[in-house]
Amino acid sequence: MPARVRAMSSIVSMPSSPEIAEHLVQQQCAVQWRGFFQALAAEFAAALAPEDLRALMFRVGARFAAEHPLPACATLQELEQAMSAVWTRIDWGWVRLVQDVAQLDIHHSLSPVSAAFGPDHAPWSGGFLEGVYQGWFERAGAGQLKVVQRAPADAWGCVHLQLAR
């Protein structure tokens, strides 16, 4: 997490007003593209089943990972910093990697995917992040492991995924 965001999070509380929260969430996607993405998502959803759409988004994410290669990393902390550097550069939030005994938790904060496609399409649009992290972890040497989203994104675009066997 960038230091600026860390400092702000320690002094700023989440807005209690639903109107303010909704407005801030909408700011995550430029108004110039919001209508386009939501029409695109509605058309996709009318033509394809959710699992097919999720597979499509996974492939889009894998392509994104290939086009945004990470530098060589030796440790988990370096990998987290390299991933977050890509996300923060394009204003897609940041990621935190937390080791557990049997899995690696991937906490992505403030992804704009849900804001772009709309919350109704969150069940399949999250396949994008799965594909991105799968691609990055495979290139880092975790080809035998699989990235799985553990829960739908919340209203702020915070997504919990896991890397495990």
Binding site: C73, A142, R150, A164
Partner: protein, 183 residues
């Protein structure tokens, strides 16, 4: 608390010493205060062992032991004086207090790696009254987090461990996935 020193002043008027004189009214007020606000007494008792001495001179009771590599502040003459601020004349060496020696940082043990709020709650006398001391104690999940924190962080070790974790359930059975007909 407003109090009067009339008795002491009266003694001084006659050139006498008021040392043997004891102001009983003041002690009576303290006693009444303690009975009226028991929380004040509770806080005083709770912090009695936690409050360090304000006398930080070397050798004073409670003062930190000087460290060989401790920071020593630069002499006052070496620091720039702010504009408009007059430097006081140099005092005789006997009057100059010895420099304050900062204590060296203590090495952090795993037990110290608790959130700042929890660490503060553990030291706060009021947390005991509010039941926060128990909450500040490390929980089972903290212990599990500590165990995960001790895992090797180099990527080959992480990936090899996760790949070999197939004997144990690698992830909860109820993985979230979209289902056909349920967008």
């Amino acid at each position: 608390m407003k109090h009067s020193d009339d008795i002491v002043n009266l003694f001084q008027q006659f050139g006498a010493k008021a040392d043997p004189y004891h102001e009983l009214a003041r002690q009576q007020e303290h006693k009444l205060s303690r009975e009226r606000w028991p929380l004040v007494s509770a806080v005083r008792d709770a912090v009695a062992d936690d409050v360090p001495s304000v006398d930080r001179r070397a050798g004073a009771p409670g003062a930190p032991a000087p460290q060989a590599a401790a920071f020593t502040p630069a002499p006052a003459s070496a620091r720039p004086a702010p504009a408009g601020w007059a430097q006081p004349a140099a005092r005789p060496a006997a009057e100059v207090p010895p420099p304050v020696v900062a204590p060296a940082p203590m090495p952090m043990s795993p037990a110290d790696r608790v959130p700042p709020s929890a660490a503060l709650a553990a030291r706060s006398p009021l947390s005991g009254l509010a039941g926060l001391r128990a909450a500040a104690a490390p929980s089972l999940s903290d212990a599990a987090a500590g165990q995960a924190g001790s895992l090797p962080a180099d990527l080959p070790s992480v990936f090899a461990r996760l790949a070999g974790a197939g004997d144990a359930p690698a992830r909860p059975a109820a993985a979230w996935q979209p289902r056909k007909g349920h967008p």
